[in-house]
Symmetry: C2
Subunit: 310 residues, 2 copies
């Protein structure tokens, strides 16, 4: 059990439910009740040197892009329209890679600007600090729900099909930095079809599906042979001898969406293929808790592999 | 010029004005337009080991209290009702002070809970990470404006009197950790009187007054002899030989409010003393830019001392 999930469990027991919070700790983002119309969706994610990237080796603009992108991916998972982002930095006093601390900050922001513009996100504030420690970037992103309300993890039902956008695995070969948040895809699907639940794949398909299932009081069974694989998953498999499916299940940082929808809606979506990227049925929610696979006919238990944050 | 103000100036030139942001970079907080009624006020502040506290010496609950308190003080400066806070931590992997990393996080939160309860703030999300670096705490707090709208830095006019809540100076002797955000005071004053502009004293009276004045396209003149001094300012003065006024002007972290109000309203407020803490007139805004003092009769320039963030 990760430190973060221990802490969240402790906080959930400690913090009483609050009137203004319709969805708090434990989803991709929190939902705060707006006065009249739209609710405000808030998510926050921090990237740190040595854990999420190696400062002396990485393209700083790519780190800036990723720091904003992972937050937008969380908003996509809630089917929220991104509105604003707040960027807090703590910078190594002496900079890095021949960049001063100020230049380092500017490079990070230069990496955020195209993504912010693309998704209409206002970089509206933040806090900038220097210290003798390594670089950390904390971004809080806000979004607005549409009239369909937020898409949450908890709405899945036994019998729902699990759909995934795009293809999975091998993100370490580059994609983990080149996050393409599925905001438009989520909004389009949420507007046109009745989606029961959704999550983005940040820590790994197996882990994130088991989270969606658990939040929905269900289990999940995955048909491994149906999982769409990236070319990178195949390449990594050739290098390290693990199967491409293991990479798809456990690598994480695909930033694709997993959606739970009623079987008949799933059939319609799969047939209509309304996105520019493919939508694939990879399994279903079941009443029995736990994560299962069916490649070999009978369901057998599947480990919820993925990146466990310490 | 600090790194942060260089970065903010660069960002202001880079980032086009955005429709949803009615007040962005450069005030105590950003104001995002709500659909109908209330605007959303957002502020974010990060505290770091070695800069804002020394982890191996400090009371961890006091650090948690302060981390939330400084954000609530920014909301107070905007006369916003606090609603929710999002807490991102990056923890030293091995913990500190015989606390594991998890216990360290729990101590920080234990320090936040009483303040959150007191001000009705929902701790609604966050992100928790561990690494080999020192502790950093980044909190983003959200608030709602009242029907009077946000109190901003930019509304002051020449001739406005400057009022300050409480007394100032010597925060290092303890108060810098025991932040008492002036949320209720700001809301009460904003509801009952016509306030032109406001700011909280985080970096020092002289610096923060000059920020309010500059944002209002004014200068400011302070009557040093009128500045209410804390007992701590006197004590520090005895220890270090600097005058207590220097401490009041430059120490910062008083987390009191400075307000700009028309002269007749100032007179009314001073006479009515509607708060449990004193309100004192300490100077006024003038058309001439810059910061001035009048202790010795003629206005003489006053350095905008205070804590300059690197």
């Amino acid at each position: 059990v990760s430190l973060e999930s221990q802490l969240v469990a402790w906080l959930q027991a400690k913090i009483p439910p609050q009137e203004c919070v319709s969805l708090g700790l434990g989803d991709d983002a929190a939902v705060l009740r707006g006065g009249d119309g739209a609710d405000v969706v808030v998510t926050t994610d921090m990237l740190t040197d040595g854990v999420d990237f190696l400062l002396d080796q990485v393209d700083l603009r790519a780190v800036g892009h990723k720091a904003l992108g992972v937050n937008l991916s969380d908003l996509a998972a809630m089917a929220a329209v991104p509105t604003a982002a707040f960027v807090s930095l703590v910078l190594p006093r002496t900079g890095s890679q021949n960049f001063s601390a100020l230049e380092l900050a500017q490079e990070l922001f230069q990496g955020m600007f195209p993504l912010a513009e693309d998704f209409g996100v206002a970089i509206a504030g933040g806090d900038t600090n220097t210290w003798d420690g390594p670089l950390a970037i904390s971004i809080t992103a806000l979004g607005a729900t549409t009239e369909r309300g937020p898409l949450v993890r908890a709405g899945g039902k036994p019998g729902d099909k699990l759909l995934v956008t795009g293809s999975l695995g091998g993100s370490l070969l580059g994609r983990h930095l080149q996050v393409e948040p599925r905001v438009r895809e989520a909004l389009m699907l949420h507007a046109c079809y009745d989606l029961h639940a959704g999550i983005d794949i940040s820590d790994g398909l197996a882990l994130d599906v088991s989270r969606l299932a658990a939040a929905s009081d269900c289990g999940a069974v995955l048909d491994l042979s149906a999982i769409p694989l990236t070319e990178a998953a195949h390449r990594m498999s050739q290098q390290d001898g693990r199967t491409p499916w293991e990479h798809a299940l456990g690598d994480g940082e695909d930033f694709e969406l997993v959606l739970a929808v009623a079987a008949e809606i799933a059939e319609k979506i799969i047939q209509e293929q309304p996105l520019k990227i493919p939508l694939t049925a990879i399994g279903e929610l079941i009443a029995e808790p736990g994560l299962w696979q069916t490649t070999a006919g009978q369901p057998t238990p599947l480990a919820p592999t993925g990146f466990i944050h310490e």
